[in-house]
Symmetry: C2
Subunit: 107 residues, 2 copies
Amino acid sequence: MPDIEQLSDLCKLLGDKMRLTILSLLKERELCVYELVELLQTSQPNVSQHMRKLKAGGLVKEAKKGQWVFYSLHIEDKPFLNEFFQHLPSQKEKVDAISCEDLNCCD
Amino acid sequence: MPDIEQLSDLCKLLGDKMRLTILSLLKERELCVYELVELLQTSQPNVSQHMRKLKAGGLVKEAKKGQWVFYSLHIEDKPFLNEFFQHLPSQKEKVDAISCEDLNCCD
DNA sequence: TTTATATATAACTGAATAATTATATAATCA
DNA sequence: TGATTATATAATTATTCAGTTATATATAAA
């Protein structure tokens, strides 16, 4: 059972537009760093820093595949966030519109 | 249906230990400013500023009774926060331990 | 109508934090 | 091995934000 401080720290992570967008994108499927850079139209270091925080907060997990790093949601152990995540607007169209193949990454 | 920015703004409000504590206290019953000052062991202006933000974010509502202001939770219209609020640790003991009568306020 | 009480707002300060720029690490390929 | 690519980290800057101090408003009581 998480205490107030752990919960407020979690909310702080969710309380940033770019991070919350990242999480909503990851709801669709796992994504590599470069896909996130494209989807968010920001810099690679900026994505990396956000991913580090999300990972430290236990909200995402990473999988290294060769030289590429894929991130995916890790919220199965946080039932109190279920409804919230279900209500995140769908990003299906945006995520479907890109692929590692098109971006020449992760092939 | 709230968009990502509205949701991240809401999370930002929840992402502060004192504000999240206030909300968990209000889960028990409505409270006046001075009760919150006592429960949180902080200054009256600090409480007022947090309440203003929570009110602006639509998370609490206020009721003026004479010279006193009572705050209460307003989350019925936010189903995506239901589970989250249910998981906030109970503050029943703390809230039960104080009363306007003891504090000589709101009588 | 002066005084006291309850709460809010404003101005300020210091700390936290997001984004950028520059650099480092780590893996792959020629 | 040296060059290239993918990602991470460090250092810096600018902004945001929580808390304090001082002051204002508003209601009630003397």
